[in-house]
Symmetry: C2
Subunit: 344 residues, 2 copies
DNA sequence: TGTTAGCACTCTACGTACCCGAGTGCTAAT
DNA sequence: ATTAGCACTCGGGTACGTAGAGTGCTAACA
């Protein structure tokens, strides 16, 4: 389809534009050592590349910038992942030097480092809490009519929720209930918790606890909905403001809005998918992100696929570098979190 | 010092500028019904007000805008708090209609509503966790060599920290330790926890637990530092971008940076102080905020002064409205949180 | 036949000139 | 003391000219 020379010119054009953020002209290109052609030749080729939709002009007599199709082709065929400079590797791995004991901490730090290293915004999704297994469940009464329910999972995650005790209830009943719940619910995943709660424990509670109905109801309501946005971690939310590509305040607002709103996160981070993905401009589902590219990668704990990492930047993003960084990080993060989780 | 007429003109000028964000001219002012003077008179008075430093010009032949001194005078002497429109009150109180059971939830929602209502950024500081009293302490072993320590306070707040168990330690020792800690530490404030930990429990542990040293050390390290930035709640971080006063991207960046960085929070929110405070422009300690005004107010739970609320906006902020809103909210919030805390 | 030098053309960015309108300060009249 | 009148100032918009970077096309060249 494309000749060798066209490939070369496309690649160098994209590289140059990624680096300079300025439309690339034929003269400029011809001065590069890897380009032995005259400006006129380059102009011809560029005209062809434009005809095929890989390049664009910002106005009739401007230099060329890559189109989305151009970026796509570049990413799919012209990306030669280069080894990261040692310094970057060191900085990236500094997270793991700290020997943090909590998953949450590691992910938080990773998000920070990632944004510092890339100058883009990073979003990390932690392992899905709902798949964790209940290790212990306890109820701590606070006052006459409030108590807090605490659920510890096998990963060391702690969920806690306050709930109201129906007035005039026997305190020993609460203790009984806690015991029964503990017996019956340890080993169940948070996902299945409310199912089990109704199927198994309800009948048993009926037998042992007075006024089980009210108590059960209020407890169930408390435990039912886990906060779902609490395992999203951001790094460098403000890095967008550093990018010369974004100058329209309205667009910046829309973009930041979308990123902060946790309900949009599934649109940005494809939760289920394995491996590395790149979405360029309008390939993104959200219109606010039509000027952005998103690179995502998944990581795992043990054999399970659990979390995702995303980097959000301008379309004119340093794909080569980011891909290398994410490759490295996802591997390291998987190892580290597995280590923590297995407790070795 | 200032004549009646000067006061009137100053007040109307500030009001107008707050509303329009445009320099105010003498013609414009003379058209207002509350101003019965001719433009020429107004010009004379304005020239005087400028001489005294209450007004400024953006260029030689422009209208006037308030100087910081002007705002200060306005806020100190010309602010006639007007009753809030019913609709605002309803919206503000909607937080309390939800009958939330957790302090954290209430504060979070308040921050959101506040920013929606004002179109500025709000920061709420929750009650200082370190003053809470330990209600229960437990240790849940996860694996051979990790465990999670859980501390429940009287307010229903739950702190949890993972820590490593020194290899080859007897599990029963951990249980013993948990029991001893519980006996000795319930009733102590988180603030004094590490003090007590060393003074009282150490000697007792020595008697009952083998290899108390390592275990104690690692546990102590885990419990020692409470995360301090976790009771800061934001609302409308992006509202700055809505303000016409801010167009310089660099300034916006600096400002947002400062606000997000939790180490700067004490500079923004004077943690100790009672009542309502207004800081205008360079009265703020941080240079990034020299174009902002900050209004803060404290609230309490029971008799204790505990938290603060801040609204950050441009100097050209609607002081009258914000003061009314904060007055109302701080009262309501105090009542609501006291209710939750006392558990009635 | 593919490549390149040359040239006319196009468009942006920038600077200058100009005018309009809103506003001011000052003076003189009320 | 107040105000009408007037000359002056300045920002913002529009028009215009130029320099520079870039293009497309044609014709010459290897």
């Amino acid at each position: 389809m494309l000749t060798e020379r066209q490939l070369l010119i496309l690649k160098v054009t994209v590289d140059d534009y990624i680096q300079s953020a300025q439309p690339v002209g034929s003269n400029q290109l011809s001065k590069k050592p890897e380009i032995p052609f005259s400006p006129a030749t380059i102009r011809n080729e560029m005209a062809d590349l434009e005809g095929m939709g890989f390049l664009e002009k910002t106005h009739t007599s401007s230099g060329r910038i890559p189109s989305e199709k151009g970026y796509r082709y570049y990413v799919d065929h012209l990306l030669t992942p280069r080894a990261l400079p040692q310094q970057d590797i060191v900085q990236l791995r500094s997270v793991f030097e700290e020997k943090l004991t909590e998953t949450e901490q590691v992910i938080k730090r990773s998000a920070m480092i990632l944004s510092e290293l890339t100058n883009y915004t990073s979003i990390l999704l932690g392992p899905d809490v709902r798949r964790h297994i209940v290790k212990k469940l306890s109820i701590v009464p606070l006052t006459q009519d409030t108590a807090v329910a605490i659920i510890v999972t096998d990963s060391g995650h702690v969920e806690n929720r306050m709930f109201a005790i129906p007035p005039g209830l026997n305190p020993s009943d609460i203790e009984k209930m806690a015991n029964i719940l503990n017996e019956r619910l340890v080993g169940v995943s948070l996902n299945n918790l409310h199912l089990r709660l109704e199927q198994e424990t309800l009948t048993i509670l009926k037998q042992h606890v007075e006024r089980y109905g009210e108590l059960f109801h209020t407890f169930r309501k408390a435990v039912l909905l886990p906060h779902d946005d609490e395992n999203i971690y951001y790094g460098g939310k403000l890095n967008i403001l550093k990018q010369p590509d974004f100058h329209d305040l309205q667009k910046i607002r829309d973009l930041m809005d979308v990123m902060e709103e946790s309900k949009h996160i599934p649109m940005i981070l494809p939760v289920g998918s394995q491996g590395l993905h790149i979405r360029i401009g309008s390939e993104n589902a959200l219109s606010a992100m039509e000027d952005c590219s998103v690179i995502t990668v998944s990581y795992n704990i043990g054999e399970e696929q659990t979390g995702s990492i995303a980097i959000i930047g301008p379309k004119r993003m340093d794909y080569k570098r980011i891909v290398s960084i994410l490759d490295l990080l996802s591997g390291d993060l998987s190892k580290e979190l597995t280590r923590i989780f297995k407790g070795t």
